[in-house]
């Protein structure tokens, strides 16, 4: 019965995909024809590209769920046909696609001009493997400090610039009923572990990964954050937890939280989510763990376009990926929700967000400051690095285990998984 149900869902999904396909331009011989696989938020971009290329390139578009990218490419690999020319997915998908065992991802170093890569700056580093680029980054999701100016004024707080100040400020919320955020999901990693540069997916060689929860960059996180959890000024629930939203966030009780750049528009603002009133929320630079270069951001999300090595029209495919990630249209469209990774494009995007009256300050400044400063210690890897948070790290935190136990459990689980994807594991 269950298999039948799965099969039916698959059939419906294929039907949806085919409907999407049939709306594409009719293919004719002579001009290049490319197929784009993207998730729903990327469809307006793709449709615009299809319009612009009319008569020059036949662009076909199929909608897929982002989570299905690896599955669908594996199936195409198995069938040895049916690959899309470009696909939208997570950086970890590209890690899988560029591996020789998969072979889907094309090396873009020669297909894309140096000017484009320069325009990305650090923004495209997720796509860099051994000096070659295997994808183009669509958007950045670096963490910043979101804070509520009304609550800060009411309590006479100053905006923290270091993690120690963040912790001290959070402690001042004790007994006030206000919260410094909820971190019981992937956010605990992005906000604290990754920004602290705790080595959990540190590729010391192409197929050697260092997963070392005992490193001082990891232990300092629990040392700083555990007291906040114990004092109840940060929440052990997920920031998406229905209870947290109802009891805390939607009551306008979050004084500050570390969160990625897309949180303002998608978590804090929407009525169905935290629903914080206009004019209260501002963004500040990500608090620094230490001095000098010890001031990295984490990242929560951020997608990439990968180009097929099987494409009959590699240049047309690469051009499409370039347009999708760098075009002025994409940067200025109201349908482009997230912070573009490409420098010139995000400058244009700035025009929109910096004028947005919802925010109490120009939130772009903090986003831009962290954008080229995302920690590169952990790299995209082939084992399910992100998915494993839910099975161990956040499950432990939600259930009230200590942060160091939660990290150890998580590290142990990925130390077990990494060899299954062909990695050698170093634990020290």
């Amino acid at each position: 019965m269950k298999r039948l149900a799965v099969a039916l869902v698959a059939v419906v999904a294929v039907g949806v995909a085919l409907t999407g396909c049939s709306s594409g331009a009719p293919s004719s011989s002579g001009k290049p024809s490319i197929l784009i696989w993207a998730d729903t938020p990327r469809i307006p971009q793709a449709t615009e590209y299809q319009k612009e290329m009319k008569g020059k390139v036949d662009v076909k578009i199929e909608t897929i769920a982002q989570a299905d990218a690896q599955t669908k490419i594996s199936l195409a690999n198995r069938a040895k046909k049916g690959w899309p020319d470009i696909i939208f997915g997570a950086p970890a998908d590209t890690a899988q696609f560029k591996d020789p065992s998969n072979g889907y991802a094309a090396d873009l170093t020669k297909l894309v001009s140096k000017k484009i890569f320069d325009g990305f700056g650090e923004g495209n580093s997720d796509c860099l493997y051994d000096g070659k680029y295997y994808c183009l980054k669509n958007d950045l999701a670096n963490t910043v400090l979101w804070y509520n100016t009304k609550i800060f004024a009411q309590l006479g707080l100053t905006v923290p610039t270091t993690m120690q100040e963040f912790a001290d400020t959070a402690m001042k919320l004790k007994g006030t009923g206000f919260s410094a955020g909820a971190y019981g999901d992937q956010l605990y990693y992005a906000a604290f572990l990754q920004s602290s540069e705790c080595p959990l997916a540190d590729l010391t060689a192409a197929n050697t990964v260092r997963i070392a929860p005992g490193d001082s960059k990891c232990t300092r996180v629990a040392k700083t954050i555990q007291p906040l959890l114990d004092a109840g000024v940060i929440d052990k629930r997920s920031p998406f937890d229905a209870g947290f939203i109802k009891d805390v966030a939607a009551q306008d009780k979050v004084a500050m939280t570390i969160g990625p750049s897309w949180w303002g528009d998608f978590v804090i603002r929407p009525q169905a989510s935290w629903n914080v009133p206009a004019g209260e929320i501002a963004a500040a630079n990500m608090p620094a763990w230490g001095t000098g270069k010890d001031n990295k951001s984490g990242a929560y999300g951020g997608g990439v376009f990968t180009v097929s090595s099987h494409s009959k029209f590699p240049q047309a495919a690469a051009d499409a990926a370039v347009w999708m990630t760098t075009s002025n249209w994409m940067a200025t469209a109201a349908t482009t929700p997230t912070f573009p990774a490409y420098g010139p494009a995000n400058k244009l995007w700035e025009a929109r967000i910096s004028k947005d009256a919802y925010y109490a300050n120009n939130v772009y400044t903090a986003m831009a400051a962290g954008a080229n400063n995302i920690s590169q210690v952990d790299r995209p890897v082939r084992f399910p690095f992100n998915a494993q948070f839910g099975a161990t790290l956040s499950a432990d935190i939600n259930n009230g285990k200590s942060l160091s136990v939660a990290l150890d459990d998580y590290a142990k689980s990925i130390q077990g998984l990494a060899p299954q994807s062909g990695y050698k594991v170093v634990t020290k």
């Binding site: 997920s238 209870g243 399910p384 099975a391 077990g416 299954q420 994807s421």
Partner: protein, 298 residues
Amino acid sequence: MARSRSSRRSLLAGSIMFAPYLILLLLFGIWPIIQATITSIGPSIVNPAGGLQNFADVVADVRFLPALMNVVVFLLLYVPIMIIVVSVMSLLLDTVQGRWNLPLRLTYIVPASMTGATAVLIWYFMLEPSLSPYQSALHALGITQGNQIWRQGGLAWIFVAMAFFVGAGNWIVVQYGSLQSISEDVLEAARIDGANAWQIGWRIKLPLIRKYLVYMGILVFAAGLQVFVEPQLISGSVYTGIAKDWSLNQLSYDLAFQSNNLAGSAALSLMLLVVCIIAAIVVIFRTDFFEGTGVGKK
């Protein structure tokens, strides 16, 4: 002569009637098994040499033992609950004849019209303390936070509940149908001999539909062993990853599509198949599943 001709004709008729099933069995049963067998001993990302080592690798995978334990717990809860509740409910339904019988049968089937995906959403809604229509009941039990429900220790119960409500209604109606096949004479005789309703149910009706219950047990066991939709969908919702690789079928899926290890995935699927077949054979041969029709047996 006449006799052998008629037997040849019945053989022909039988073959024609069996052929459509045979073709489907070959295409969608036997051929995939052969394919899986070939794939399972092929090279994999962890074992480029291929061979039976793939089976050992899967068993040694850190995800295997926890998933196996989860499925065992799930089966230990799911199969007995299904058999007991379905038996009791269908016996009760059988005693309610007349105008209420049809609406009752409909009522049983309604929850079954929710497929796995919908059921998961509905259960999420019902069990989430801040959204649930049964909020006060949950609060009375001391459950005020989602993570008191959605925690790894108790997931098996939730998945059993989901699977039960999707599957039980259909089976109640099916078993009611098998109860209908019991001859009225038998029941009449029992009544004349002084059996009360309880004795008729327990000593007459249940033994007579035993083989249908066995049949249901096999199918329920096979479905339970392959539990996939419920944990997979829960893992993709609010508590992302909470039931990742929770069941063996999920592990098989992830081996194929996340670990890029189709050989391991095929090996695990074959292991599940063997367990299913062995379980079915044991149950069938330990009972009189293939003997006579049971009810009409003299």
